[in-house]
Symmetry: C2
Subunit: 217 residues, 2 copies
């Protein structure tokens, strides 16, 4: 298909498509003459992936470039900085600043859950830091319910595992992992808000009940 | 305390503190002379909240302004656009573009879960759209596990409900809701990644395993 058709199929403007090609997010089309190129269903798929990571994951262009480069060659070794976390998380994550009691709390949690996660790993440090921040903000009541959050996370991680196991090859597994991580987080947040609507909770201000209301703004 | 002490207590530079005051995120200090102001523990708390919403929630300054304005007067009625969703979600959310089969899927889900969520509500529309996008990206396998995600979300929503019920007044409830929503989403994502480490999954590229690795970059 030509670029105009690719644009219609995906809802992405031709200027933006050209921008993604220049930025290395999307492969060039096959040149059929000096000023015309042909695009395939692979381009349609890649464009949808880019838009999902951008619009739903809130990832930057350079992050998406690392991800699609990785997807094109999933056996390569990559900088972990290119992962899919959608948080603009820039905390220090130093074990020196973490409260040792929180570290002990998270260590017991991983033991109870049977999670074989290294105490010096980044995943561990993020959980410690989030708990410390919750307490610093006077929200110990959420931190005290860590086990409930962990059970919920365990359930989703088990699904992740099953889905990834069912992938046929490294390439489809890598893409499932990227999409499942980014959209899975969004889906979980959205379902949490859906589960909260219509509950018999005390009235809460409208400005925190929904992640969707922005669509009209 | 003076601004320099406030800066030391929170790790936020004095220039940034002044910027937050100008932007209406932080109340001014009490003027003690023409060029000196005094700050209190309330300022420390508010600054920590701002940093959490900014760094962990990825919210914009104008969104945070709406939130803190709401927190200062939680009985007011607010624009739902000021909610805490951290996704840069700007999708159309039109029922006309949603796949009717997906709408039916989500409707059955809410019935099974006993969620009293309106089908025309924004929370419902976001879930429908995310499922449609997952399928469009060829990740039906995640969409097929919707019930597992929903059970996990239900568990977290039940905790949310209990924590909010235990709040003494509208103001503390509003703040718990904001912090619990934003940091709760982050905590759930972080625990999901922690639960995934050390599992017996097939090897996955390092670039998608963690939300924390960026700290070093």
């Amino acid at each position: 298909m030509r670029i105009a058709e690719l644009s219609r199929a995906t809802g992405v403007s031709t200027a933006t498509i050209k921008y993604y090609i220049r930025e290395g997010l999307l492969p060039s089309g096959l040149l059929t003459s000096s000023n015309q190129a042909r695009y395939t269903e692979d381009h349609v798929h890649r464009l949808r992936l880019i838009r999902a990571l951008l619009d739903l994951g809130g990832l930057t262009i350079s992050r998406i470039r690392s991800i699609v480069t990785a997807l094109d060659d999933p056996d390569d070794t990559f900088d972990p900085g290119a992962m899919t976390a959608d948080r603009s998380y820039t905390g220090p994550l130093s074990p020196l600043t973490a409260d040792p009691r929180t570290v002990a709390t998270v260590r017991s949690l991983t033991e109870r859950q049977g999670w074989n996660a290294p105490v010096d790993g980044p995943e561990f440090a993020v959980v410690v830091e989030l708990l410390d921040i919750l307490c610093e903000l006077g929200q110990e009541r959420f931190a005290d319910r860590l086990d409930d959050y962990a059970e919920a996370a365990e359930r989703v991680a088990a699904v992740d595992e099953e889905v990834l196991r069912s992938c046929d090859d490294a390439r489809s597994r890598a893409e499932s992992l990227v999409v499942g991580t980014v959209l899975g987080d969004s889906l979980l947040s959205a379902l949490r808000r859906l589960a909260r609507t219509g509950r018999s909770t005390p009235p809460v201000p409208a400005f925190v009940t929904s992640g969707a209301s922005e669509a009209g703004s």
